[in-house]
Amino acid sequence: MMKLFRPDSFRPHLLLALGFLLVGIVLVNLVIGDKAASPAHLSTPDIRQEESLPGGSSSIPYRAIASLEIPSPELTDSAKSLFYAGKALAHQPWVKAPTATTARDGLGPLYNARSCLGCHVKGAKGIVPDDPNKPLTNGFVRLSIPGYDPVLGVVPEPTYGDQLQTESTSLANQLGLVLTQTGEGEVKPEAKVFLQWQSYIQIYPDGSAVELRQPKIDIRDLGYGPFHDVTLFSLRNAPAIHGMGLIEAIPQSEIDALADPDDSNNDGISGRVNLVWSPYKDKLIPGRFGHKASKAEIATVVAAAFANDIGISNPIFPQQPCTSKQAACLNSLTGNDDLGYEIPQDLLELVINFTRNISVPKQRSFPIKGRSAFYQSGCQQCHQPQFRTGKDQSFAQLNDQLIWPYSDFLLHDMGDQLADGRSDFDATGNEWRTPPLWGLGLNKQINGSLNLLHDGRARSVEEAILWHGGEATNARTKFMQLAAEERKQLVQFVEAL
């Protein structure tokens, strides 16, 4: 794997040790000393009418009660009925087997959430706890040991697998403090996860200050003994799930055209395609979903989440979420049907269909100066504004749409501060996929979350920008050099998308 050009001058972990006061001084120096050039290609394009409809014809107007689980207006009445049938399976909780509700049992025995929308709350991002003694529930920790696996992308931690499941169906776990002893044959949760926040102050060249915070993963109550000696951990917050059908409909050639793995244009930005395993195609193909672009299709995203997040076996991932070292888990009752699945193919398809057809909110306002600041700072170099979807999808409503996701769906080195040090297929421990920005400004209204970035550390668009390092260092530097008024305008633009 090639070493990427990383103009990474942002090193708060070192600065932390120097104390807050010094941090400010050093940062001011760094920023001033790193006066970024303003290449000609950072011009602001003319406004296009279509920009206000980020999802093309799948865009919806603002609603009094905001949510990101509204069907595309393109759906017919009968298609909408199926959308809601899929939503039911994504929304209503799965329960421990066996129950009278036969199509809803099979939860766990190890799981992170009882339903999809339990973490993707109302379709929007999850909420990570600010309180260091409140367990993480909308996100989880991925685990692995060093190495590469062509199907899994990682080598799972031998005892706990590649995802730490913090809940289980045992009576003791369900009843919390009331019952602490797990019964014989019952399954213990793998652990509980808490987040300790380290905060420090970042100071702009104009002297104004912002508090940033970084999570330290605090794993308690390990249920199955110690981790492997070289376990890699990666904290993940649940992302929003709207517009995924449109993203899937972008021709791969459009994304490939943006890739610049060797940075041959010398702009400091590479952009790489992750090659990931497709259980549908039985081979490695370009990924575009997930924080590390480690999934290629919505179907894989949904099926993997059912298997690992909720513990629901399905035709794509028929196994229970147990490793060979978790006997009680392996021996537990399942909610399997006679084919061996807790959610059969037809119902899985309903959830995939639901996910595919969630609409995208219209842009709510048009902060025109912020828009200019966005382009002048070079944000669009990775947050690629527009694509046109392909014409050959089997879902006509997704075809030939001009969409504005503000992502290139490529991997970028985002610097050491954001790095999780855990590779996933071809994505290095420093790389993350550019997240789409559409609908981002609605998160707070929808469920109270504005936990941005892969681990939810950023509590505002401004904080998220300030965490950008690596290939995005120039853009961050430009942002920091803007006047306070202009920074505010840029943030308003992003929140209006």
């Binding site: 406004i47 009418q49 107007p61 009925s81 909780p93 066996p98 959430a113 339903s115 100066k369 209006a496």
Partner: protein, 505 residues
């Protein structure tokens, strides 16, 4: 402190872009609607809001009253467990559902049932009415090696159906020790902490509280099926079959599960006796239910923070926002929740037990009452509830007859909208009434959704179609009130969006 959604006026995005020269030929409907909307008369909107709040208070008051009556019936069952007191407790549960069902139209709009502060999704709904229930955590259920091996709804190779073969009780099932359910594990103290420790509102744990927990303990699993045999491996066989002798009934928990009861909690309650533990559990759950419903009701009381915020409007934008909230509840309940998540899924999943009140076979009432609630909001009427389960509302103490959306539309001259919606609501009522009639005649919802019964002639199918049509009209109404384009989120509203060249500050 109440955090209100801040409102700002916004000229539709499209028209604003047109203003900056981007596309003057736009024919997007959002801009056209600006001129054709229904006039907003603030006084009339106020009357709609007051009536809407009055109905909410009335319906939650009746929910509290009927929950208290349920508690009384459960106490009678505890003191003297007989077939009569058990039947009376079941009836009290069914009656308690009558007002509550009509309240569900207040969901999906951040009102007190879903939110404590008008903004967070932290309301008590999950504790009151969440479903599916984690019944396996509460009391014994049929357990076998696989879900569809030889358990569930009479698919064993027995010659007789489960209930036809005699009593079903905990001795038949769950022989683990200690038992992995609350009733069976006598080391678990059954008290209020048990329910709050489960955090059923927070989505990580199975539901063990609310109406459906009581329903499960009174009825037990609905295991009625064909009395014939199957090989026990096919999901499609694990469904009800017409002609079974005990098809048209809900679960049949044996009276022995409640015997003996006990007279006094402090002196005669024996926490190691399973029947005592069932009574105790019922008591704890019904007490929490009453407290939760009371809390929701109080959120709608005159002078409460929520009601004050909801009914106070001084600008047209606020008026539209509040109307939009009512319409959001009506539309979401009609389409997404009732037609979609509760009815369509039951069919799509081919899941005969996948019904809202699956233990009591009372799902036909859930459908009726939810739909009636939508109609109540539209007409500004609440007729009370049915206390003797004959389908006629006879307790009218808290009935409301106020100023509805229909009156608002009539006064605004929007007769076309009004008559279209009235027609749609009537059509829906015709079809949900047919579901109810069929259920009362011996084909409960779980029978009506069986594959052989579900086709375009079925009342369930027609109700789904009618609810979707009604939801489309509600969405159209919202649009013609210009609601959807009249509000923006507070973070982005700092810009004067009517002037794209203005500074956004």
């Amino acid at each position: 402190m109440m955090k209100l959604t801040r409102i700002a006026t916004l000229v539709a995005t499209i028209s604003m872009i047109t203003a900056c020269g981007g596309g003057s030929s736009s024919s997007d409907s959002a801009s056209d609607d600006q001129d054709t909307g229904i006039a907003i008369n603030l006084d009339n909107v106020s009357k709609v809001l007051e009536t809407n709040a009055d109905i909410a208070y009335a319906v939650y008051s009746d929910a509290v009253t009927t929950a208290q009556a349920l508690k009384t019936a459960l106490t009678a069952l505890r003191v003297n467990p007989t077939a009569e007191t058990l039947a009376a407790a079941k009836d009290a549960w069914l009656v308690a559902r009558e007002p509550y069902g009509q309240s569900e139209v207040y969901r999906f709009r951040l009102s007190p049932i879903d939110s404590t502060d008008y903004s967070s999704e932290d309301g008590l709904e999950g504790d009151i009415n969440a479903w599916p229930l984690g019944e396996a955590l509460i009391d014994y259920v049929q357990v076998n090696t696989t879900d569809f091996g030889d358990d569930q709804i009479g698919v064993t190779a027995n010659d007789v159906g489960i209930n036809g073969g005699g009593a079903v009780n905990s001795d038949n099932f769950d022989n683990t020790s200690p038992k992995t359910n609350i009733i069976g594990n006598t080391s678990i103290v059954i008290d209020e902490d048990l329910l709050s420790g489960n955090l059923s509102a927070s989505d990580e744990h199975d539901v063990i509280a609310g109406y459906h927990a009581i329903e499960f303990l009174l009825w037990g699993q609905d295991l009625n099926n064909d009395t014939g045999t199957t090989d026990g491996t096919d999901r499609d066989d694990a469904v009800k079959t017409r002609g079974a002798s005990n098809l048209a009934t809900g679960g049949q928990r044996p009276l022995s599960d409640f015997e003996p009861g006990y007279d006094d909690e402090t002196t005669t309650y024996n926490s190691s006796v399973e029947s005592d533990r069932r009574h105790k559990y019922l008591e704890v759950v019904v007490d929490k239910l009453i407290a939760d419903l009371t809390s929701v009701r109080d959120g709608w009381a005159e002078g409460s923070d929520y009601r004050t915020a909801f009914t106070t409007i001084t600008t047209e934008a606020q008026a539209k926002q509040k109307l939009a909230e009512i319409l959001t509840g009506m539309g979401t309940l009609s389409e997404g929740e009732l037609a979609g998540e509760r009815m369509q899924i039951a069919f799509s999943a081919n899941s005969q037990e996948d019904e809202h009140s699956c233990f009591s076979d009372n799902t036909h009432r859930d459908i009726w009452l939810d739909a009636e609630g939508v109609s109540n909001s539209y007409y500004g009427e609440y007729a009370g509830y049915d206390s003797d389960l004959d389908g006629v509302d006879d307790v009218i103490t808290n009935a409301v007859s106020g100023y509805g959306i229909d009156d608002f539309l009539a006064d605004a001259g929007a007769t076309a909208d009004a008559s279209a919606l009235a027609t749609a609501l009537t059509t829906t009522a015709t079809h949900y009434t047919a579901i109810d009639t069929a259920a009362r005649a011996g084909s409960p919802f779980d029978v009506q959704i069986m594959t052989e019964n579900f086709n375009s002639d079925s009342a369930v199918y027609k109700t789904i179609v009618a609810l979707n049509a009604q939801a489309n009209l509600i969405a159209d109404l919202a649009e013609s009130l210009n609601i959807e384009t009249s509000v923006v989120d507070d973070d982005a509203s700092a810009c004067d969006t009517s002037d794209p060249t203005a500074t956004c500050d």
